[in-house]
Symmetry: C2
Subunit: 275 residues, 2 copies
């Protein structure tokens, strides 16, 4: 018959924790004085408490331990819970390994560049979306503005002309992955909420989903968009990915003849883990 603090000292578990285990049914005192509600424990309860502690160290929650200590639990169930916990821990290990590598890469960058990059590369999935699209060719990058505007004009005009009120923001898709600085084919697409007829210049289709794109958000004039590409391409290589699809530019904020410093563009490159 030990008082709670004696038992706590014996087991090196705080009285608070012992009360919690009592309330959760993991370890009931051998006796509770009905008048004072004092809890009384016995040294014979140490094996059970130690079992609780061991399972806790193995990463089980108190609720799970409640199941594990239940008298009528089969060995198969125990095995199942252990295997489940095993895969949980393995997953956390993998996550932490990747996290660790990314932290270390940031430290390296910091040492080399003496400043933090302006861009954060993030990975995300892109959902399939219905779009209206047209094709064009950019003779050279220095003068792509008017051509792109004209392409999007065509798509927007067509979409509004077919009764649409609200459309998504413009997206450029560069289907050519080889580097070329002249006569670049480009597809100008605009997400639309529902189907409209196709024309000879504008076609409607469902842009397939992309499992993973690496992307950066560029804030400012298109003139400095090259930095975004540099960051993105370097990141893809360094982190063990490879390009697996057509690059897109999403014009999240853009106004014709507006202030270029207010433009916001997201550059997306579909990627997959390099073999």
């Amino acid at each position: 018959m030990l008082k709670i603090s004696d038992f706590a000292q014996l087991s090196r578990v705080s009285p608070k924790a012992l009360r919690l285990y009592d309330r959760m049914g993991l370890l009931k005192p051998i006796k509770v004085d009905s008048q004072s509600n004092y809890r009384y424990y016995s040294a014979t309860q140490l094996p059970r408490l130690n079992r609780i502690l061991v399972f806790k160290e193995l990463g089980f929650s108190l609720e799970e331990i409640g199941c594990l200590l239940n008298e009528n639990i089969s060995l198969a169930e125990i095995r199942g819970m252990l295997r489940l916990k095993q895969s949980e821990i393995q997953q956390r290990l993998l996550d932490d390994q990747s996290r660790l590598i990314r932290v270390e890469m940031r430290l390296q960058e910091l040492e080399q560049e003496k400043s933090m990059s302006n861009y954060e590369v993030i990975l995300k999935p892109i959902k399939s979306q219905l779009v209206a699209a047209t094709l064009g060719i950019i003779p050279n990058f220095d003068d792509c503005g008017p051509i792109l505007e004209s392409l999007f004009d065509q798509v927007y005009t067509y979409a509004f002309g077919n009764g649409l009120k609200e459309v998504g923001c413009g997206i450029n898709i560069y289907h050519e992955t080889t580097l070329r600085d002249k006569d670049i084919p480009v597809e100008a697409v605009v997400p639309i909420p529902h189907k409209i007829p196709t024309s000879d210049r504008i076609w409607i289709y469902k842009l397939p989903e992309v499992e993973t794109v690496a992307c950066v958000v560029h804030h400012g004039s298109f003139a400095s968009l090259g930095n975004a590409y540099c960051t993105l391409l370097e990141w893809v290589g360094k982190h063990g990915y490879q390009i697996s699809g057509s690059t897109r530019e999403v014009y999240l904020q853009y106004e014709r003849n507006g202030d270029p410093s207010q433009y916001v563009t997201e550059v997306q490159i579909p990627v997959e883990k390099a073999a």
Copy 2:
């Protein structure tokens, strides 16, 4: 000017999280309508939000991210926080690796033995304690009871005779680590709360602390204490430890001529990581 759910969709961060980031000062909307309290965001805030997300994936708490995003933080401080996080992750990795191994060992045991062991081995430190002690020799294990009782009688009698009211429970220390089944020297010690004089048979000293003991709690007659030793020794070997000191038996619950099924004994073996 995007409403919260538009911005949420754009960034794939829930409105709930955006409100939290607002409240924590991580990402304030560009405008809050003073009458309706509606939050309005701009696509220009995506880079900052992405930075938040990246740091979150690296394992930083929102509070830490608040520091990291603070304008007037030096590169040295950022480096410091990264290094701190790095060591945190490394520690968690090590913990999880050891956890994983222990879970796998339990699974193996389960496969082999078709039942769960009765003992849980736990590691703990033992604090230094003041004790009264005497030495004896056990001719053979089969008949150790009376001799041990006599040894403890001497110590208890001496302690009470010197005015002590409360003493700890008896501990046997087997200083001999070599296996011997006859004439085993044993030290019977009893923790005492403060100094008393030494005699020729009973001496008082401070039992040094032990950094780590592996221990099991045995519940029942001493006759089956061998099982506890088996479990413990097997565990020590399997888990990559080696014995680094004298084994102890702590008689947590014992009553002369009492019911042996109520005895509780803790067997402790000092261990250290094997090289």
